[in-house]
Symmetry: C2
Subunit: 721 residues, 2 copies
């Protein structure tokens, strides 16, 4: 118990009080890192008399509201009591602490100017931008600069010149698989604004739910949603909320596949007679609209006309992915249509469908967006391809004149480590693409597919990781120091909490519910050693439906378990440095002791918590593995070597511990294995189980698990693996 506290405190110290390394000075605590940051001398001291003036032709209501939110957060963060006048009077006048200036009101559309310059001196703050939207981006930077420490409340003197690298920086939220109420969407929009994302791609219809009120065809939402849909007023409320933050809202209505929820109310749209029910499982399903009947296009023309009016963005996403074609092949009339028109296969039939869709959307003033599958030579280059397949597909399309955005490698539902997403560049320096075509790579989107998240857990999958992806889309290509990213991410995560995001605070709540107790420290320590299984393994290891509970240990666990990552770093450092670094040695020991003793602290809880029994043996393994690790560490610290006989049973034990339980996997197996192998000396590298090709690695960036069965088809493969 005592050791646990010490180690936990050690970890906290590591996280928080280490001075910013000299080479990181230019990144401060900023995320995303600005294009250019020049540190000056001294700092501006923030006091209760802080005041702001907004000026210029871009002093819009939106900018004033943004300044109001900035002041609110500044006051909340510092506990300073600003005067009412601070909030109520933003007119230009002498003696204000900060001036915000924008030359014009911006448009919430692709390519709008988002640049700004921010100048802080001991005398005051000046923020300048071409548009009010650029000024909003600069306000977020200012908030991240505010520093509370021994010196009080300060902003470092700095000159920042900033603009985004890519104009399309998105987060896709799937409201179909699990419905996400308006407040969930809003708090995530606040999070997006904080890290300068500018597109919310809203996945609103899929097999498991049709989530928008439709006036023309009310059975869509009435029969396709279990009553869980957004009213038109709520949709407008969300769009206005996003626009206030300079964020576009692009809706997606996935067709011709992923269409079960459409055809529950309108089976006449379908390629097979029906009747249909809302899909309750996860995967790829057959219901598909019939692309051969003119009535289908009349329906869709009316439908998209209504949606084009409701959603004011220039773009509308029609999905287009993962149509199995089975319901088409099984329909004699559709086969006949294909024959008549000379379509060799269902893929060509879908091309026909996409063309018709493009015509409809163009008629309603929208540019069509779709997943890779929609791409075909007959479509105009005004469409945009969203690629789950990968960069190559994107570059090829760009070469042919099509704009595109990358989502391959940004599937945040797959529980891959943050640095994997972070280092995934839409346009790496050596990208095989012409300079001209490269301009058509507009950016990218993180995708939050919602099979395994609900309103309680979704924030913990999106945040803080999406902040690192946002940096990839905004910051210069050369910004890719993983350690510095993790350092800043830890701080940004706490800042994001202040916006109402629940990624940090819900974990202990979920643990309290699991154990029905208040002292969840030991459970938290346990969760520091595990992560949910990666890629599509969760659905494979246990059958889930839309009714399955998302309240288990696997749901409380986080992607990118921070203690396990820090332990891996310590072990890497020790192996590289020959076990002479006493600080690293003590850190590794502290973690291992903490974990070794943890199971004893949990035994009582496991005994009385049926909901935790599925992970009890994992907890026991944590203790055993840590004991092995401690033994190896002492051998190595003493400069001794272990025998092969010592090694083998321990390696066997480790191998067994790799087996996931409760869809959780241990993240400390590989570093302990490395310790053990090193402990037997040079001969260790030849030991069965120690050879380089026998990694027990958890899904680290270098790890490429095989694609398994059904779950690898179609967009489901967007993991970038």
């Amino acid at each position: 118990m005592k050791l646990r506290m010490i180690a936990a405190t050690a970890a906290a110290t590591i996280a928080w009080t280490s001075p910013v390394a000299a080479e990181n000075a230019a990144t401060l605590d900023l995320m995303p890192v600005p294009r250019s940051t020049e540190l000056g001398a001294g700092a501006y001291i923030v006091g209760a008399d802080f005041s702001v003036a907004v000026e210029g032709a871009g002093a819009t209501d939106r900018l004033r509201a943004g300044v109001g939110r900035m002041l609110r957060r500044l006051s909340d963060h510092t506990s300073l009591f600003f005067q009412p006048a601070t909030f109520l009077d933003l007119s230009a006048r002498d003696g204000v602490s900060m001036t915000v200036s924008a030359a014009r009101g911006g448009a919430v559309e692709l390519g709008e100017d988002e640049s700004y310059t921010l100048t802080v001196t001991a005398e005051g703050v000046r923020l300048e931008a071409v548009t009010d939207i650029g000024a909003l981006r600069g306000l977020q930077t200012l908030l991240q600069l505010v520093t509370l420490d021994e010196r009080g409340i300060t902003v470092p003197a700095v000159e920042i010149t900033d603009a985004p690298r890519f104009p399309w920086r998105g987060l896709m939220i799937d409201s179909s698989r699990h419905f996400m109420p308006v407040d969930v969407v809003k708090r995530n929009l606040d999070g997006m604004a904080a890290v300068k994302l500018n597109v919310m791609h809203w996945h609103l219809a899929d097999d498991q739910g049709f989530r928008v009120e439709c006036l023309a065809f009310p059975k869509l939402h009435q029969m396709g949603s279990d009553g869980r849909y957004y009213t038109r007023h709520q949709i407008r409320e969300v769009i206005a909320f996003a626009a206030e933050r300079g964020i576009r809202v692009m809706p997606e209505f996935d067709l011709p596949g992923h269409a079960t929820s459409w055809v529950v109310g309108y089976p006449e749209l379908a390629s097979q007679p029906g009747p249909y029910e809302i899909e309750r499982g996860w995967g790829i399903f057959k219901p598909t609209v019939d692309p051969t009947r003119e009535e289908t296009y009349q329906f869709l023309d009316t439908f998209f006309g209504e949606m084009a009016e409701l959603f004011d963005d220039d773009f509308l996403h029609i999905g287009g992915d993962e149509n199995t074609g089975e319901h088409w092949n099984d329909n004699a009339e559709i086969r006949e249509f294909m024959e008549e028109n000379g379509y060799a296969d269902t893929h060509e039939l879908q091309q026909y469908f996409s063309q018709r869709m493009q015509t409809i959307l163009e008629g309603h003033g929208k540019r069509m967006v779709g997943w890779d599958e929609i791409l075909q030579p007959e479509l105009p280059t005004s469409i945009v391809i969203q690629s789950w397949r990968g960069r190559e597909a994107l570059y090829e399309a760009a070469g042919r004149g099509y704009s595109g955005i990358l989502s391959n490698g940004y599937y945040i539902d797959l529980i891959q480590p943050t640095d994997f997403h972070y280092l995934n560049d839409p346009l790496p320096e050596d990208a095989p693409i012409s300079a001209e075509a490269a301009k058509r790579v507009l950016g990218g989107e993180a995708t939050m597919w919602a099979e395994f998240v609900n309103p309680e857990t979704v924030d913990s999958r999106i945040w803080p990781r999406t902040a690192a992806i946002a940096e990839r889309f905004w910051s210069p290509r050369h910004v890719r120091d993983v350690d510095d990213m993790y350092r800043r991410l830890d701080r940004v995560s706490l800042r994001l909490e202040g916006l109402g995001l629940q990624h940090e605070r819900n974990q202990r709540m979920m643990l309290r519910r699991l154990c029905q107790c208040r002292d969840v420290d030991a459970l938290e320590v346990f969760l520091g050693t595990v992560e949910p299984v990666k890629i599509y393994n969760r659905g494979q290891q246990r059958k889930h439906t839309s009714f399955s509970p998302l309240t288990r240990a696997v749901d409380a666990a986080r992607p990118d378990a921070s203690p396990a990552r820090r332990f891996r770093q310590a072990i890497d450092g020790l192996i590289d440095g020959g076990f002479h670094d006493t600080d690293l040695l003590e850190e590794a020991r502290s973690w291992l002791r903490l974990w070794q003793e943890n199971h004893a602290a949990l035994e009582e809880i496991f005994r009385s918590s049926p909901a935790l029994s599925e992970v009890e043996s994992l907890s026991r393994d944590v203790s055993e593995i840590s004991l092995s690790g401690l033994a190896a560490l002492e051998i190595l610290a003493d400069g001794e070597t272990a025998s092969r006989d010592w090694l083998r049973p321990r390696l066997d034990r480790l191998r067994a511990a790799k087996e996931p339980r409760g869809q959780l996997e241990l993240m400390i197996v590989e570093p302990v294995k490395r310790l053990l192998c090193v402990a037997v000396g040079e001969k260790g590298s030849d030991e069965p189980g120690c050879r380089a090709d026998e990694s027990m690695a958890e899904a680290a960036p270098s790890h490429r698990p095989r694609c398994l069965g059904l779950a690898c088809r179609g967009r489901y493969r967007g993991s970038g693996l």
Copy 2:
């Protein structure tokens, strides 16, 4: 550090693993306690095959939806994977685990039947009710009965017959002083449903904000709300959400005082020329509508006509409180009107206004509700009085034929201890009221005035305390065991978390923001010793406005600090028992050691956290006081006595420590004082500072602080003091 952990664990053990005392068996973990509970033998075992059928003419959509929510929560709580059919098929059939039967659909109105019987045997569960609303109440009882422990997931065999004591069981939410977005209201409605409250009284207009969209007079919400108002669609959404849970929504539009936000857009309504601005401060203000002009009543007739259509409840609250009358007296035409009509004072003029209001509301089919001030002989007995003044006023009104509800003693914004509210009975056994008149005491309402709460903190003021008040309104009068209430409240609080309420989870988040760190254990220990200042002291000790930050230590602190309360109990037990109980002795020691060592753990955090500096000296006092307490404890444990010279400087130190800082006060002063006084032996009771009339007591139920200045006028006095 080590001791801190031990003590914290000890506390957790006290809270969670103590077996239910035999005399508490009948209350189980239920809150509110049912009218009758008969425990049977054995238990029903809940498995993944759990299923429910709904039957009877009361098998409404509302009841089916309620069963769906119950199943969702049951699955979430147990982590059981129910089949989709469990949720989708609620038809009566053989072999279901549970039958829910209601004879008719209920009406969401005062006096509807809410009774139910719940029978659990080893074979299954049967819930029967007259109305679907009664069945909803029974579903909440079932959820509270589900037990997870060594035996697995079970429901004890039991026969419960239940019905509410009072028909009006409310929570008032003030959305004017701080706007509460729809999701805040909804999650609190879920909390209300969980503890069987049935009225949300919605305080929608006051000096600081007019919060409802108004079609007829749009400048009300446009100019009176800073853009923070509920649209008509949102209002309807909330009403529907409440009705789904069998909860009435009664709106309040406070008049003729508290009217600043009305007259910002419509100064012609006011009694003085204006112009007016939205009020940013807290207190009682002068702006008042002019009751002498017919145009006022034309305006109000149109306004209430629109609101009467929007809000479907039979009742509408017009406030009526705290009109200073100054703006009336200062207006020559109003004075003339009073003279012409023979009104002796502004009180009589307000009586005239109330009569006119009653006529208007009656014309729109509503029964008028108002605070004590509206009561007058000219009004029909169809109106309802909400009493902040006290029971006597209520009984007097009831004697004259008026129905009433009690809010005096349920002002949960005043940070009084839960047991104070809990023991405050609207109709104690010895109430001086006839049986006939007693029937007109309809129940009560907890009032969450929002000067010092925002969406982030409001849950922590409402919950879990309001669950105890809900029990007062629902359960039989004789249910008033304070210890058992606190025991159950601790469990209910964790259950309420699962509904999305943030009273538990936000505290550590707020501490992380204050220290900008992750290890907040020591801050949490500190908060266990303090509470926000009581009654109206917060506003008196520091000037607040609607822009003031609510992110300080005082906001993270909780009413009814549980560690301090437990420590007081331990000290009481030791003093009563003569310091022979080694368990109590060890508990008291553990707390004191924990607190004594805590400041050292915080020094580093205080150094680097400017937002915490205002409470640093409080933390130091905790250490010093605890050291004194430990010394006294050792003297007493050894059967020795201390000298007066030993006592005096320590008492002086305690007295100084009573001074609040950062609007927080120490809750461990009084028990330590008692220890010290006892330590000097019998002569202690005569010592200055030890005498019974020199209590240093924190606001305990017996504590009656004086009513101070402005803050004690009008409804502001509803503290029951």
